[in-house]
């Protein structure tokens, strides 16, 4: 019981400490956040990082190939239709079908 309590506390502290850190020093950091260029580059970098991590993390080669194919489809559909919902739906459908096919759940 104590171990579970400590587990929950450390997990929570480890997470929120990184989230609160920039806001604790927000007065000093305010000047950086005023620069739109720095902000937009930082945002693009962080989103790119999350995107790549979610495509490549903890996968085998076949799963990565399916995810890359689905990512290309998402980009093409989004660029042609500008419809976020349809792009996400198609991309996700490809991955769900592909992964289930690989695991033998379908066919």
């Amino acid at each position: 019981m104590t171990n579970n309590f400590m587990f929950a506390v450390i997990l929570c502290l480890g997470t929120i400490s990184t989230r609160f850190l920039p806001f604790i020093f927000e007065k000093k950091l305010m000047n950086i956040s005023k620069y739109n260029r720095v902000n937009s580059i930082l945002i693009a970098f962080l989103i790119g990082y999350i995107m790549l991590r979610s495509i490549f993390d903890f996968q085998n080669e076949s799963e990565i190939k399916i995810k890359i194919l689905a990512s290309v489809v998402v980009v093409i559909i989004y660029k042609t239709t500008r419809n976020i919902f349809v792009s996400i739906l198609l991309g996700t459908s490809i991955v769900v079908l592909g992964l289930n096919y690989l695991s033998g759940a379908i066919l």
Binding site: N3, M6, F7, A8, I10, L11, C12, G14, T15, I16, S17, T18, R19, F20, L21, P22, F23, E26, L29, M30, I32, S33, K34, N36, R37, N39, S40, I41, L42, I43, A44, F45, L46, I47, Y49, I50, M51, S54, I55, K67, A70, S71, V74, V75, Y78, K79, I84, F85, S87, I88, G91, T92, V95, V96, L97, G98, L99, N100, S103, A105
Partner: protein, 179 residues
């Protein structure tokens, strides 16, 4: 200010991904001996996908407190970058700001970029809605155990970030072309 109905529609991709990722976490957590109650408490108090998945490696073991803390801290270090981009948006300190910082996940960071929320109340509401999806998913997963197949549905979130990435590159180009 946007109402809850409008925000639920906007948060649809996050809902799909959060509920299914949450269920996956809950299933794995239960398979390691975690209870429904603890899954609920962790998802309410922590609200962090990657960190919660990493924590599964430590759950039920004789973990070293400092090692566990550092692993979670290093994994979440990107949140310092998120915070830098939101200092102005989150405004002055009050209980809403404390909650928004607490719940500033990858997905909430994405929602802020895709929807230009001007008011703090709107940001608070969308974070609260997304938090609900996560808690619901984690608790449901721990309750249903291994009887559910959620493989691949988390790609809804990846798709959202692919779209966001292209939009953010456009912003970078715009910033530089404006001189």
């Amino acid at each position: 200010m946007k109402n809850y109905k409008e925000m639920i529609v906007q948060s649809f991709p996050v809902a799909v991904a959060y509920i299914f990722l949450g269920v996956t976490f809950g299933v794995l957590f239960a398979s390691k001996g975690g209870s429904i109650g603890l899954s609920f408490i962790i998802s309410v108090t922590t609200f962090a996908g990657a960190a919660q998945f990493l924590s599964l490696e430590y759950f039920g073991t004789d973990f070293h407190t400092l090692e566990f803390f550092l692993a979670i801290f290093i994994l979440n270090i990107r949140h310092i970058g998120y915070g830098l981009t939101a200092i102005k948006k989150f405004g002055t300190w009050d209980w809403r700001k404390v909650y928004m910082i607490w719940g500033f996940t990858d997905e909430n960071f994405g929602m802020l970029q895709i929807n230009n929320y001007e008011e703090k109340k709107s940001i608070f509401k969308i974070f609260l809605i997304n938090h609900f999806y996560w808690v619901f998913g984690c608790t449901l997963g721990a309750a249903v155990g291994k009887n559910i197949n959620v493989k691949g549905l988390e790609f809804a979130l990846t798709s959202l970030f692919i779209i966001l990435f292209f939009e953010s590159l456009k912003n970078v180009k715009k910033e530089f072309s404006e001189g």
